[in-house]
Structures are given as C-alpha cells and as structure tokens.
C-alpha cells in the first residue's frame, strides 16, 4: 500500500526531526545559556535563586512529556484563526505558502504578547493562579479563543491529575519546594473548578491554558526558559498541523518549517521580548487576528473549532 509506505516514511521523518529537535533542546538546556542576550539578564534571579545541587539534572523526561505533539491536548480541533484567515485573505498575487508564513508570524507574535506573560507569571508565582485565571479570562476578547483556551486548560488539568501527578507529586516521589507550591496551586484550581456551580455572570474559575501551563511546567521541574519555549513551540506545531489539514502545505514542508532556524529565532525573539512584560501590559499586538478569530463562526463551512 503506497499510503502505508508514505505514512511510515513520514513517521520516520517525524521521529528523526523530533529527536533532532530534542537533542538541540537538551543541548541548549544543558549549556545553561552560555551567552544570554542582554534582555535575559533579569532572569538570572529566577535561575539562580534556588541553589541547585549538582545531582539534580535537567528534567529531560518531563520536557519530553510536555513537548509531546499531542499537547496542548485537543489542539487538533483548533486552527487558532488560520481557517478564518484563509477565508478572509484569498491569495491573489501571493502564494498560499507566503500567505501562511505571514499568518504563522502574526500568530506567534500574538500568542507571545497575549498569553506568554501569563505563562511566565504562572511559573514565577503559582500561588496567584486564581487571579491569573480571572485576569486572562477578562483579557480574552473573543469567545472563540476563550473556549479553546478553557478546553485546553481543563484538558491539561485532566492529564496532570490522571497521568502526571502520581509520578511527579505522588506519594513517595520527592517534591522540591519549588514544585510544591505549583502542585498546591493546581489542586486548588482543580477543586475550585469542580465545586464551582454556575456562578452568576460566569465569573467563576475557568481553567485557562496559559497560566496553568506555567504552573504545571513548574510542578514537573522544567525551568522557565523551557516552559516558555515549549509553550510557543507547541503553538507553532498546532498551527502547522492545522495548515497540513487545511491543505495549505504538505507534512514534509510543515516539518521543514518547524525545524527551521528562522522559526527557532522567531520563538526565541518573541520570548525575549515578553520576558519582563507584566501581565497587566499583556495585550494584542495583531488587532487583525482578533477579528479573524472572532469571525470564525461566520464561516459557511469549517473544519476547526477556532
């Protein structure tokens, strides 16, 4: 069967690329950022604040779990506005690939400016998770994006409780003081979500993805840079996967983009830009994206939820 052959080929390719990526990441993590860009100097307190004993190595295992292409769980159902963008921007002179690259660039810039500050704040201050959850809910102007974020956040709580918790915070497994507060924060939010009756005006806890991601990564022992990188990288993966399914490009091309140096640079650059952005100043830097995402429900036919 040719399609079977193709599939195995592709799988091999994907495995290869993923392993390369992970190697690169592991190297990056192991090297402890030998030459941090100037804007990174402020993060020193976060890295160096806890005197790490040399026996604690980079939690590679957790990193691999969290960079799984299945995460964010259920992301295959969302195109982050790509489907609507394609409907609104019928390529005339530009090729669909160029048009897609514009979208990817805008989408990554936008997720970094709107959500990344919440990821970083969730990691740095897990005890404020409920406030962060409220604030990001208040700051998401579009119900389509809001639904997606809540669905993925709750799925993340689910996978944490059912799968990861027992290994990373279960009885018998050592929990560092760093992770302890994060575990407590997730438990609190999870309890609040379960016990919350439909509060008036829908102001109860929501379980948005971005702040939870920061807290879960902390609970699993990732460092802040990895947390941010995997967050943006997973978003890029989800958009590219949507592009493949929306027939914008083939799977090889998608992996090519994913592996490219320019994507890496772009992610690093966006993270550096938002590293010190307080959540109060998080905001939409691509106003057009809000319009596309919001108008997704006006599409006559659609294959994604957003």
């Amino acid at each position: 069967m040719p399609s079977m052959l193709l599939n195995t080929d592709l799988e091999a390719e994907v495995t290869l690329l993923e392993s390369r990526l992970q190697d690169a990441r592991a190297q990056l993590a192991a090297s402890e950022y030998p030459s941090p860009p100037s804007s990174y100097t402020v993060k020193e307190p976060y890295i160096k604040s806890k005197p790490q004993s040399p026996t604690i190595h980079t939690p590679l295992h957790a990193l691999l779990l969290l960079s799984d292409s299945a995460l964010p769980l259920g992301s295959f159902a969302y195109s982050s506005g790509l489907e609507s963008y394609l409907a609104h921007n019928k390529p005339s002179r530009t090729s669909p690939i160029t048009s897609f690259h514009r979208f990817l660039k805008l989408s990554i810039a936008s997720i970094a400016s709107t959500s990344l500050p919440y990821v970083l704040a969730g990691y740095r201050h897990p005890e404020t998770l409920d406030t962060l959850d409220n604030d990001i809910d208040a700051s998401t102007p579009c119900i389509v994006a809001q639904r997606a974020s809540i669905a993925q956040g709750r799925a993340l709580i689910g996978v944490w409780e059912r799968a990861f918790r027992v290994s990373f915070a279960g009885p018998g497994s050592p929990v560092s003081s760093d992770a302890e507060s994060a575990v407590a924060a997730i438990d609190d939010l999870s309890d609040a979500l379960k016990s919350c009756l439909e509060e008036d005006d829908g102001l109860g806890p929501k379980g948005h993805f971005a702040p939870l991601w920061g807290v879960v990564c902390r609970a699993m022992g990732l460092d802040l840079q990895q947390t941010a990188y995997v967050f943006v990288m997973n978003h890029a993966k989800a958009v590219l996967s949507a592009a493949v399914r929306a027939s914008v490009m083939g799977p090889y091309q998608a992996q090519n983009v994913l592996a490219s140096q320019s994507l890496q640079d772009m992610i690093t650059k966006r993270i550096a830009r938002e590293w010190d952005t307080p959540v109060e100043e998080a905001g939409q830097i691509v106003p057009a994206l809000d319009l596309w995402v919001g108008r997704h429900e006006l599409l006559y036919s659609r294959i994604f939820n957003s």
């Binding site: 700051s139 829908g202 905001g283 057009a288 319009l291 919001g294 108008r295």
Partner: protein, 403 residues
C-alpha cells in the same frame, strides 16, 4: 515633642497640583438635578461642562415615576488639540449614583504629535534647562504622550464615551490607560452602565502616513469594587501597536529573520534559492509594510466598543444580532436559477468594515472592528448606533457628536 508636620494646606489651594490633571465629580442633587460638585483641571487639559437642553423622554412602560436624570455633557479638550511628547493628561471622573454623563472630544481626533529625536520640543520635560541634549530615554520613556482616564461609576449611573479616534503622527509614541470602576454590589437593573469607544487610525493619510508611528498602546479596563474595597478585573481590552524599533537599535536583525522566514517560504515554494527575487516581489505591487501596518493590514483604523449595563443592554443585543446575521463567509447559492455570474463580494474587506461582536463574561458586549479608513468606520458605527436608537433616546444626539 511634637513632630514637625506638613504645613497646613491652604483652603484656597487647588487640589490639582500637576499639569494636565483634571478631576470631575458629578452628583445628583435633589430633586433630580445633576450638578458638577467638583470640576478642576490644569493646562494643557481643559474640561468644559455643558448642561444640555436635552431631556430624555420618560419611558411610559417604566413603572417607576422618576424620569431618568438629565445627561450632562463634558467636553474633553487639550490646548492645541493634541498631545505633545511628554504631555501627560490624567482625568479622574466620578459619577455618583443615578447620574448620566456624555463625554466627547469636540476638537476632532486626538492628535499625537511626533517624537522628534533631533529637535526636542521645549515644553517637553525631557529637556533639562540649559542643556541642549535630551535626557537618555529610559524605560519609562518620558517623551511619550500619555493619557489616563480613571472613572468611577456609581449604581444606576451611566457613562457614554464616544470620542474621536486618536491619530498618531509619524514617529509618535502614546500610551493610554482608561480604567472604569463599578460597584460590585449593584446587581441587575441597578448596575452601572458604560459605553466606551476606543479607536486608532493609521495617521494622516493625506500625508501618506500608514501606521508610521513608533508606539501606541490603548488599555481599557473595567473593575468591580466590592464593599471591602477589593477590586476584581472584569474586562481588559489591551492593544499594543509597537514598531519594535527600540530593540532594533542594538540588534537590527529583527526584520532580517522575518525576511528569512518569508524567503525560506518562497524558496521552498518556488524552488528558488537566489535572493534576487526579493526586489521583484516588492515591485509587483506589494509595498513593503512596516511592522505595525502588517499587523493591522488591511485596515486603516481599528477599534473597540465596550458596552455594559442596563442602559446599553438594548444596543448590545442589537449589535450581536447584527453580527450574527451577517452573510456566511464562503457560502454559495446552489440553486440553479440563481445568476451564477456575480461572484460573492470579496470578504477580504477591501473598502469594507470587518467586525466581530461577542458577549463576553459579566454581561459585557465587546465589538471589535477594522475598516479601511476613518470615514468608513465612523459611518458604519454611527449608522448602527442611530439605527438602534437607544443612545440618542437616552443621551441625545450630542452623544454621537463624534460619529
């Protein structure tokens, strides 16, 4: 021994000490008489109250015999009709229970004048007297124009704030922070009402400006404050338009890496590896866009309308209904009789208004829009609000002064 205390404040001293600050308190004196109990301001800000003649007609179906209080009009002005670098306008407005206020900007658009690095403006506080050099730009960016609006809206009070858009000139920087605080304990029909429009244009199109400013930030927040004084964020709408030139000064690889990605894409697609196709690409009618223009394209004006509370409930529902009844994008008429000639008008919103409306939490209705130019947006929004009619009925035609 008594500790030396601060000198007794003069009773005649204005409570407003700093430039550009203003304070307004609107109270409802009995029986039903809205009055400015405080109204102070300082250069370059100017606040002009106007007691309009408009009297809203009492709703005959309303069981309460009290007619809604008269809306009071407040003009927000700045000398020169705009903001210079370093200007900081800060206005605090309190609407006491059951008052209604209309705020407009009668000077037309809020012009944001440019930050000129070579010729510092003399009124700018960044200039140290006797020094020709500017102070180094720090993170707080003292050469940025800023406007802060802090509004407290009491129970059953209503604010209708439909200003002109801000027009940032080339190389200007501007940050605007508008915060609205309502009483968390007031529920249902006693809630405060709020209608806020915040929009920004690409600049002076007559001068060819197309999102050529350096920085523009608009942040609108609605907070609910409970009896204990704790505040909870209900809504935050934050738009940051940044040409990101700050960082490029030390590392100007920004555009390059983007270019590379685009090139990689093109090469991938065309099988071309030479970079010589870049100029031809731009010649093909694709004017190279700056970062902000690219992020706003294809729009020349973007904006947000925030609606909340019983007074604007009808308008919110009307806009939602209008949004949901827009034609589906990409739908076709499959019937044979239909003339197949006319293709669906392009939704790429050339010359049109692209907008979305959503009921987010706490009953807020949020409308976001993008349009090709100011006139289009103005006609569209003014048309919708007039068609629905409740704003004109409750606040008078003056509320739509800027639309």
């Amino acid at each position: 021994m008594r500790k030396p205390t601060a000198p007794i404040p003069s009773p005649f001293q204005s409570s407003i000490a700093k430039q550009g600050q203003g304070k307004v308190v609107l109270s409802l004196l009995p029986p039903n008489n809205p009055t400015f109990t405080t109204l102070t301001y300082k250069y370059p800000l100017k606040l002009v109250p106007r007691n309009g003649n408009f009297i809203p007609t009492a709703d005959p179906s309303d069981p309460s015999d009290t007619s809604p209080p008269r809306p009071v009009h407040l003009y927000l002005l700045t000398y020169g009709g705009g903001l210079l670098p370093g200007d900081h306008i800060s206005v605090s407005i309190t609407l006491e229970a059951r008052t209604r206020m209309v705020v407009t900007t009668p000077q037309g658009s809020t012009k944001i004048f440019k930050t000129d690095p070579t010729n510092p403006d003399l009124t700018s506080p960044t200039v140290i007297k006797g020094h020709r050099d500017r102070m180094p730009t720090n993170l707080h960016q003292p050469d940025m124009s800023q406007q802060t609006l802090d509004v407290h809206i009491g129970p059953q009070a209503a604010l209708c704030y439909l200003p002109d858009p801000s027009v940032p000139y080339r190389n200007s920087r501007y940050a605007q922070h508008q915060s609205f605080t309502i009483d968390a304990s007031a529920k249902g029909p006693h809630r405060a009402s709020l209608c806020v429009l915040d929009w920004v244009t690409q600049g002076r199109t007559s001068r060819g400006e197309n999102w050529d400013f350096r920085f523009w930030r608009g942040r609108n927040e609605v907070w609910a404050r409970d009896a204990t004084g704790r505040s909870r964020l209900l809504l935050r709408d934050s738009v940051v338009l940044d040409d990101e030139s700050e960082r490029d000064l030390d590392s100007d690889d920004d555009s390059d890496s983007y270019e590379e990605l685009d090139n990689a894409a093109r090469n991938l697609h065309n099988g071309l590896v030479n970079r010589a196709d870049r100029p031809s690409q731009t010649k093909a009618g694709l004017t190279p866009l700056n970062l902000i223009a690219e992020r706003c394209a294809p729009h020349g004006v973007v904006g947000t309308l925030i609606l909340s509370g019983p007074v604007f409930e009808a308008l919110g529902a009307f806009l939602l209904q209008k949004f949901q009844s827009q034609p589906r994008i990409g739908s076709r008429n499959w019937s044979d009789q239909a003339p197949s000639s006319a293709p669906e008008p392009s939704v790429s919103c050339r010359g049109d208004v692209t907008w979305t409306a959503a009921r987010v939490r706490a009953g807020f209705v949020l409308v976001k829009f993008g349009a090709k130019d100011f006139e289009t947006a103005k006609d569209w929004l003014g048309g919708l609000i007039r068609e629905e009619g409740s704003v004109v009925r409750e606040f008078g035609e003056e509320a739509l002064f800027c639309l």
